[in-house]
C-alpha cells in the first residue's frame, strides 16, 4: 500500500513516533522502541554530566543512523530558551528537526501558545524543520502553519495524563484547517486511544508515557503499533455512518417458513 507520511519532503516510515523518557533503563528503551516499529524517536537536550563520564548514553542503545532523531525543547518556559535549546540540538549534528515546546505552566504542562508562535517564526527563518506542540486549537494550528511550521502537534490531553482524545471534534477541525501533517502529541493512554486518533485522520501519533509506564512497556509498544496501523487503515477504508436503528446483515429472502 502506498501510504507514506512525508514531513518537509522527508519520508517517514512509521506513523507511531515514540519518546525515550521514563523507561527503567536503556535496554528496556531499546526493546520497546524496536517493538513499536517507530522511525521517529524524540529526545531531550540536557547538560552533559562532566564529573561522571562512566554512564552509558542513550545513543549507545539508540542508533541515530537508524532512526530520525527529533530533539525536543521540553522544559523550556520562554521562547528565548526554546530557541537556544533548538540551536544547541541542531549544532550537536544529529537532526535539523525540532519538536518545539514552550511550556506555560508546570502543573498542566500546557503550551504557552503566544511564546510558541514567536519561537516558531524565528526557528523557521533559521531553517529548522519545526513541529510545534500546541493545544487542540484550530486557530492556533492555522497560525503555526502560516508561520511555516512543517507539521502541527496538538495535544490530545495533558502530557502523561493518559486521558485519551479529550476533544475529537477539535482534532477534526484542525485536520480540516491545515494542510500540513497533524500529529497527536501527548495524552494517549492505551491502544484504543491511538486507534481513535488515527481513525479521525491524524497523520501520526507521538507518545511516551503510555508505553514507558505500562506494566509491560514492550508489549504495550507492540499494541500501540498495531493500534496505529489499524486506525490508519480504518481511516483509509472509510467507516460506515453511525445509525440509530438496526440494518440486517443477512438476507431477508429465503427464510424457512
Amino acid at each position: 500500500m502506498n501510504d507514506i507520511l512525508k514531513i518537509a519532503g522527508r519520508e517517514i516510515r512509521s506513523r507511531l513516533w515514540v519518546g525515550t523518557g521514563k523507561y527503567k533503563d536503556f535496554a528496556e528503551t531499546k526493546k520497546a522502541i524496536e517493538a513499536s516499529g517507530a522511525h521517529v524517536v524524540t529526545v531531550a537536550v540536557r547538560r552533559v554530566n562532566i564529573t561522571d563520564r562512566s554512564k552509558e548514553g542513550l545513543f549507545d542503545y539508540i542508533d541515530p543512523e537508524k532512526y530520525i532523531i527529533l530533539p525536543n525543547t521540553a522544559g523550556c518556559y520562554t521562547a528565548k530558551d526554546a530557541i537556544r535549546t533548538a540551536g544547541l540540538a541542531r549544532a550537536a549534528g544529529v537532526s535539523d528537526m525540532v519538536k518545539l515546546e514552550v511550556i506555560g505552566d508546570e502543573k498542566t504542562l500546557m503550551p504557552d501558545n503566544e511564546a510558541l508562535l514567536e519561537a516558531a517564526k524565528v526557528l523557521v527563518k533559521e531553517g529548522f524543520i519545526v513541529l510545534p506542540y500546541t493545544n487542540d486549537d484550530p486557530i492556533m494550528a492555522k497560525k503555526l502553519q502560516d508561520a511555516g511550521c512543517h507539521a502541527i502537534m496538538p495535544l490530545a490531553a495533558p502530557i502523561g495524563s493518559g486521558l485519551g482524545i479529550r476533544n475529537p471534534y477539535n482534532i477534526r477541525i484542525i485536520l480540516e484547517s491545515v494542510s500540513v501533517p497533524v500529529i497527536v502529541d501527548a495524552g494517549v493512554g492505551t491502544a484504543s486511544d491511538a486507534a481513535i486518533a488515527m481513525e479521525l485522520g491524524c497523520h501520526a501519533i507521538l507518545m511516551n508515557t503510555a508505553i514507558a509506564c505500562a506494566k509491560d512497556p514492550v508489549k504495550m509498544a507492540y499494541a500501540m503499533k498495531m493500534a496505529v496501523d489499524a486506525g490508519r487503515l480504518a481511516y483509509l477504508a472509510g467507516r460506515i455512518p453511525k445509525k440509530l436503528y438496526a440494518s440486517a446483515s443477512s438476507p431477508l429472502e429465503g427464510m424457512i417458513e
Binding site: 525515550t20 524524540t42 537536550v45 547538560r47 548514553g57 542513550l58 540540538a89 549544532a91 507521538l206
Partner: protein, 69 residues
Amino acid sequence: MEITITINGKQHSIHDGLSLSSLLRFLGINSDRVAVEHNMEIVNKNDFNDTVLKENDTLEIITFVGGGV
C-alpha cells in the same frame, strides 16, 4: 598557569591555553553528539580546535538524553 572557567554552571580550574577540543578530550567527552555554547554563542564543531578558553569563560556542553513529550 591555571584559569577558572564555568562549565555547565559550575566553576572549574583548567590549564591556560587549552582549546575546546582538548578540554572535551580531557573530560572524556566524545564530541560527535554534543554541542557547545561558548559565552552564549554556539560553537561550530569545525571550530572546536581553534576555540581557546580564557579566564572567566562560560561553557554549556549539552547532549541528548531520554525524554518524551
